[in-house]
């Protein structure tokens, strides 16, 4: 058995070392090639910008996180319910699936103005855009989870005269849990993307804004160091959501998802 700090070391250490190498390379390349700071700032400048505008950056990250988490939660709810309906019959699945794919393929840029027409600017529109972007993986993975139960297990339930409801509750739902977790991991990253894109179009206004608005603003003002800091904050938010979802999937739901851990 490895000690916990050895495990942490073997998981955390390699990416941290890589991060350090990238920082050094970044710094050296910018200095040697004399790149203008409005094109690529030095890592130190980005750090200073982040520190100097810490409360602004923190507030924006918090606002975006709120939209991303709300949208993600709604996606989980709507996606799971949709998957339940889909799992009820092949006919329903065949009829509705092409329109579910629509969610996946429609350019969000094209429908964002429509969303604002319907819901106005503000948090609710950002959440709607987030849901549109992050819903699809939940629908597909949970539908697969509910419908791909092994034939032997289904026969076991038939032989024991299980009702449709019992089969759903005691066989299909627990079987779908690892699929839900897989879908949720993809969806959690997409939710952050959705929230930021949503904010591009439907910001909350200049006194109350998220990372999307901050990206547009700092980019327009050529404050590239702050832009970099904002981008890093966005990435960090995505990683945190992914890690939390993964942790819940593997630790809290371990009874159902132990098999995922090998992958």
């Amino acid at each position: 058995m490895k000690k916990w700090y050895q495990q942490v070391g073997s998981v955390i250490l390699p990416p941290v070392i890589l991060f350090g190498i990238v920082l050094v390379l970044w710094h050296v390349l910018v200095e040697v090639n004399e790149v203008e700071s409005y094109l690529v700032p030095l890592p130190g400048d980005v750090w200073n910008a982040a520190q100097g505008n810490f409360s602004q950056l923190g507030q924006a990250t918090w606002n975006t996180a709120l939209a991303a988490v709300s949208g993600f939660g709604l996606s989980l709810l709507i996606g799971t319910i949709t998957a339940f309906v889909f799992s009820q019959s092949v006919l329903i699945r065949r009829s509705f699936y092409p329109y579910a794919i629509f969610l996946q393929t429609v350019p969000i840029v094209a429908i964002a103005p429509l969303v604002i027409n319907w819901f106005g600017t503000g948090l609710q529109s950002v959440i709607v855009v987030t849901v549109v972007i992050s819903l699809f993986p939940i629908i597909t993975s949970v539908t697969v989870g509910l419908t791909s139960v092994d034939k032997g297990l289904r026969e076991l339930f038939v032989l024991n005269q299980a009702s449709r409801w019992q089969t759903l509750l005691k066989l299909r739902m627990p079987h779908a849990v690892p699929y839900l977790v897989t879908g949720a991991r993809t969806s959690s990253g997409l939710a952050v993307v959705g929230a930021i894109v949503g904010e591009f179009f439907a910001g909350y206004g200049s006194d109350h804004y998220g990372l999307g608005y901050l990206i547009l603003q700092t980019s327009a003002q050529l404050r590239t160091d702050m832009l970099f800091a904002t981008i890093l904050a966005s990435a960090l938010l995505g990683v945190i959501m992914f890690v939390v979802v993964t942790w819940i999937g593997f630790k809290v739901l371990a009874r159902w998802t132990y098999a995922l851990e090998q992958s």
Binding site: D150, G152, L153, E155, L156, F157, V158, L159, N160, Q161, A162, Q166, K170, L171, P174, V177, R255, W256, Y258, A259
Partner: protein
């Protein structure tokens, strides 16, 4: 008892999988269905279990009372053992075994009592009952599967090559355990296998199936009295009968 006449099944417009199967199995009889792979013996077992419906002929089942039903599921008295353990991976051994009772709405106390009896029957310790299937060996998982089939104290036990995936030692051991349980608590047992010695050791009659289309080509009685001990397998008469059955099986394929 189980009675089939001219039983047949085909899927869609394909050639029939089973044709003209005539079958009679008495109450508390142990019968083996022996045949080459692909002859439809599992299909026949699924017909008897009520998982499939025949497209030709007739299948009737009854308990001691002589109350005939067209469908085994209507009796609600069958235990089925699959080729794979077919356990729910998110449930402990105990929760897997009590599943049939839970689905039928038995009370907690009834479930606990039935699980205790079932665990004892297959020789599992109470400690093992709290483990998850992934923590068990292949043989142990198959035992759990058997315990689940027995938990309702079925009048009809249907087994679909239950120990085929296990190594020979383990398979023989589990056969002996199965026979021991059946001798203590008699029920009608239908055992599908492609292993000749296994069929002869366990059953009172061996039904030999031929293929394309699958049907019963020969019925061989096994005269050895119960209780049977593992020592039977080194008996000369046993070896002779195994040889005879093996010859019939070969002819059924030719």
């Amino acid at each position: 008892m189980i009675r089939a006449q001219d039983l047949g099944i085909r899927f869609g417009d394909n050639k029939p999988v089973l044709q003209q199967v005539d079958l009679q199995i008495q109450v508390n009889e142990f019968v083996s269905l022996l045949g080459p792979s692909g002859c439809g013996k599992s299909t026949l077992l699924r017909l008897v279990a009520g998982l499939l419906d025949p497209t030709e002929g007739e299948l009737r089942v009854s308990l001691e009372t002589g109350d005939w039903k067209s469908h085994v599921l209507l009796l609600g008295q069958q235990g089925f053992v699959f080729q794979d353990p077919t356990l729910l991976p998110w449930r402990t051994v105990r929760d897997n075994i009590r599943l049939p009772m839970e689905l039928r709405g038995a009370s907690r106390a009834q479930q606990a009592e039935a699980v205790r009896r079932s665990l004892e029957l297959i020789g599992l310790l109470p400690d093992d009952a709290e483990k998850y299937p992934r923590m068990l060996s292949g043989g142990m998982r198959m035992r759990v599967s058997l315990a689940r089939a027995l938990v309702m104290q079925p009048r009809l036990l249907l087994l679909d090559e239950p120990f085929a995936a296990l190594d020979d030692m383990l398979r023989q051991q589990l056969n002996e355990e199965l026979l021991g349980i059946w001798q203590q608590h008699p029920c009608t047992a239908l055992f599908v296998t492609h292993n000749v010695a296994e069929a002869v050791f366990l059953s009172q009659r061996v039904l030999i199936m031929g293929s394309q289309p699958g049907t019963i080509v020969e019925v061989i009685d096994v005269p050895f009295a119960y209780p049977r001990a593992p020592g039977l397998k080194v008996d000369v008469e046993f070896a002779q009968l195994v040889g005879k059955v093996a010859t019939s099986l070969r002819e059924s394929v030719a």
